[in-house]
């Protein structure tokens, strides 16, 4: 079995943590794409029924606020990986 000196092991752990943080940040892309798609559909809905504008804005606001949380989760994980390890 290969044994690493403490410095090398620490470097490997640090590199893995930074790599993990990078991978975690990929999760931030999804909500952006989803929100954009929802916005496009909302525009289509308003064009079809202009009277429902208020209702559409309300639904979209709530939806976007909640959809964003997955992106922030990934951000929190990434920052924890960067700063605590």
């Amino acid at each position: 079995m290969v044994e690493f000196s403490p410095q090398v092991a620490e470097t490997i752990i640090r590199a893995a943590a930074l790599l993990g943080a990078g991978f975690a940040m990929i999760a931030g892309i999804g909500p952006g794409v989803g929100q954009g798609y929802a916005a496009g559909k909302a525009v289509e809905s308003v064009a079809r029924d202009p009277e429902a504008r208020g209702n559409i804005i309300t639904t979209m606001l709530l939806g976007q606020a909640v959809a964003e949380s997955t992106g922030i989760y990934s951000l929190v994980i990434a920052i924890v990986l960067i700063f605590t390890i």
Binding site: G28, P31, G32, V33, Q35, G36, Y37, A38, A39, G40, A42, V43, E44, V46, R53, G54, N55, I56, I57, T58, M60, L61, L62, Q64, A65, V66, E68, S69, G71, I72, L75, V76, I79, V80, I82, F83
Partner: protein, 135 residues
């Protein structure tokens, strides 16, 4: 929640409910004497309130555009907001006077409130339909 049709009224209601729920962790952190948790929570909460307001303005602007432009606009704005979230979390992670986890929870508080409110509405509807069925 679904009874409120006006977006401005809805926004005010969300903020009111979030602040009401947030009183519990704020008061407990003050009683416990952990000022860094208090500061972090307030920091996260204020930023999330401001970002909700920005989001509302963005949505209003996006609905006046055409479909492709709105899609692109909201996507770009999301990444700007994401950068703001990063700055907030980065600042709280670097600054020893601000608790990082409290700031993260403060940022999430508005989302938790919306989800909690929806769940309560769902339960209310279910019980109401059961009662109506029983009658």
């Amino acid at each position: 929640m679904k009874e409120i049709q006006d977006p401005v009224k809805m926004q005010k209601e969300i903020i009111k409910k979030t602040y009401l729920i947030s009183l519990f962790p704020i008061i407990s952190s003050l009683i416990a004497g952990s000022f860094d948790v208090f500061l972090g929570f307030i920091f996260g909460l204020i930023i999330s309130t401001l970002l909700l307001r920005i989001k509302y303005n963005n949505i209003r602007r996006a609905l006046d555009m055409n479909m492709e432009k709105a899609e692109k606009f909201i996507r770009n704005r999301y990444f700007i907001e994401y950068a703001l979230y990063f700055i907030v979390l980065f600042t709280s992670a670097r600054n020893t006077r601000i608790n990082f986890l409290a700031a993260a929870v403060g940022l999430f508080m508005m989302k938790f409130t919306v989800v909690l409110w929806s769940v309560i509405d769902l339960f209310k509807d279910t019980f109401q339909s059961k009662i109506d069925e029983y009658k």
